[in-house]
Amino acid sequence: MKIAVCVSNVPDTATKIKIAAGGKEIDKTGVTFIVNPYDEFAIEEAVKTKEKFGGETVVISVGDDPNKEIMRKALAMGIDSGVLLKTSETLDSNGVATLLAEEIKSGDYDIVFMGKQSVDFDSSTTGQLTAQKAGFNCVSVCVSLEFDGNNITAEREIEGGREVVKTTLPAVITAQKGLNEPRYPNLKGIMEAKRKPLAEKPLSAPAPLVEVVELSLPPAKAAGKILGSDASAVPELVRLLREEAKVI
């Protein structure tokens, strides 16, 4: 099987967000970038799928030089090679998906793994957009995956349970926590990753379909009321919930 995994780099989840001059982007000074947490499940599933069925795995990322660092992590976890679709421009999801879909179509892939969401812009759209543009089937928010030849049985998380989906290759699968337990790269893997091929393809950015007008910080919340330090505060809490908040 020819297997791709798409990864994005995102600010460490503990990052305090500051707005950059210009008011449309975050200030990246001092921010540590990590592999998007959901992409680790995607990488693991790609490696596992190759272990089971053989074939080739490729990590693909749209972005600039800093993305190479997270791609190396994927290589250290066992992915065979990488392709950086290089652009210095900030793209919207449609732009990212357009570039990914072109690469995936021309690379003759059978299956593409992605994360269900990148925890920077929280769109949860890139997998579905890429699938549609590449003419692939798609299962998003996947927590269980089985193959039977070209047939796929996948489970996706929905409100109050799981939906069992049947589809066929070629397909894009977006990973949710629970799909697997991502392995930690070992020393051997890290050493090997340095020698694995990582190609770069400079590309020009497609025009965005959604423009960012402005970025702002949410209004700070006014300090709340501390009602007490033990059970004696319970009646007052219940009263406030009923009479002030009117939520019960």
Binding site: T13, A14, K16, I17, I26, P37, Y38, D92, S93, N94, V119, F121, D122, S123, S124, T125, Q128, L129, Q132, N137, C138, V139, S140, V141, E155, R156, E157, I158, E159, G161, R162, E163, V164, K166, T167, T168, K177, P208, L209, V210, E211, V212, V213, L215, P218, G224, K225, I226, L227, G228, S229, D230, A231, A233, L237, V238, L241, A245, V247, I248
Partner: protein, 322 residues
């Protein structure tokens, strides 16, 4: 300017979801502001009381009907919606950002070459441009965006947009969808019991490591049951195996916007706050008065959960009735 707005309405087991009415209500309000027609599309095999959508301002209600639509199908639903949108000449689509809407909206958008704004918490017309606000970095920042494509797709964060009653006369039509594209289709739903999902609940009671062990979590379950709410959890207790991941609230769990969120024995790490800060009212019970959870709580008790929760459950039993 908009030519026609369409709300895509979600049903499960033939029942229209609350988030579906929110999409209808928001689409109707936008249409009346922009002075353009509005319609509702419901992909379904059967729907109970589709005319209820008219209570929220949409009279033109179309059921995209196929027996296979008893279950969700990304390819099938998307194909039927896109054909109908093209036939009607609609250029603004409004979805609910539920598990189904999240999956469907971008797929439909790509078919229509439309820009998609996912998880919007605010939509408005600003000087002839439809603008939306969406929380990013798990709510740590707000992004104001404008789709520039001819067709525009929005999905709305559930529980945020108001349900505005404005009755019109319903006109329900059923459009048969012959041989829908079922190249990807759900065949079955495995329910995780009859429990209310944390992302859909109007009241959420969450517990963290302060509960000490899985057994003590029954206090959280009892409190949630008294209030008719759902149980949530911090990642610490999910990682410890006390609770399933489906209950995790936060940056790598679920984003919730209930009317009331009660955090018990949760410190309020930035990744946890990310999933619940937009709750309307937040109550925190934590014995550490410096816990960050108090910085966003409306009401706090700086005490021991084991002392506070049992009398709170008793007191609520007296006053709440379902």
């Amino acid at each position: 300017m908009a030519k026609m707005i369409v709300a895509v309405i979600e049903q499960r087991d033939g029942k229209i979801k609350k988030a579906g009415y929110e999409a209808a209500s928001t689409a109707a309000a936008l249409a009346s502001k922009l002075g353009c027609p509005v319609a509702a599309l419901i992909p379904a095999s059967t729907v109970e009381n589709p005319e209820k959508i008219a209570n929220y301002g949409i009279s033109d209600i179309k059921i995209l009907n196929a027996s296979a639509f008893a279950n969700y199908s990304q390819s099938g639903y998307a194909g039927a919606i896109v054909d109908q949108v093209n036939a009607m000449g609609a250029d603004v689509l409004v979805f609910a950002n539920t598990a189904m809407g999240k999956d469907l909206a971008p797929f439909v958008a790509a078919k229509l070459n439309a820009g998609v704004v996912a998880d919007a918490t605010h939509i408005d017309d600003e000087g002839g441009k439809l603008t939306a606000i969406r929380p990013i970095f798990a709510g740590k920042a707000l992004q104001k965006v404008v789709p520039t494509s001819e067709i525009k797709v929005f999905s709305l964060r559930p529980n945020v947009f108001p349900l505005v009653e404005s009755s019109v006369a319903p006109a329900v039509t059923t459009i048969p969808i012959d041989s829908p594209d079922l190249s990807s289709a759900a065949v079955e739903i495995k329910k995780a019991g009859e429990k209310l999902d944390v992302a859909e609940a109007d009241i959420v009671v969450s517990g963290g490591r302060g509960l000490k062990d899985a057994e003590q979590f029954r206090l959280i379950e009892e409190l949630a049951a008294v209030l008719g709410g759902a149980v949530g959890a911090s990642r610490a207790v999910v990682d410890a195996g006390w609770r399933p991941h489906s209950e995790q609230v936060g940056q790598t769990g679920k984003t919730v916007t209930p009317s009331l969120y009660i955090a018990c024995g949760i410190s309020g790490a930035i990744q946890h706050l990310a999933g619940m800060t937009s709750s309307k009212y937040i109550v925190a019970i934590n014995k550490d008065k410096d816990a960050p959870i108090f910085s966003i709580a409306d009401y706090g008790i700086t005490g021991d959960v084991f002392e506070v929760l049992p009398p709170l459950i008793e007191e609520l039993k007296k006053v709440v009735s379902h």
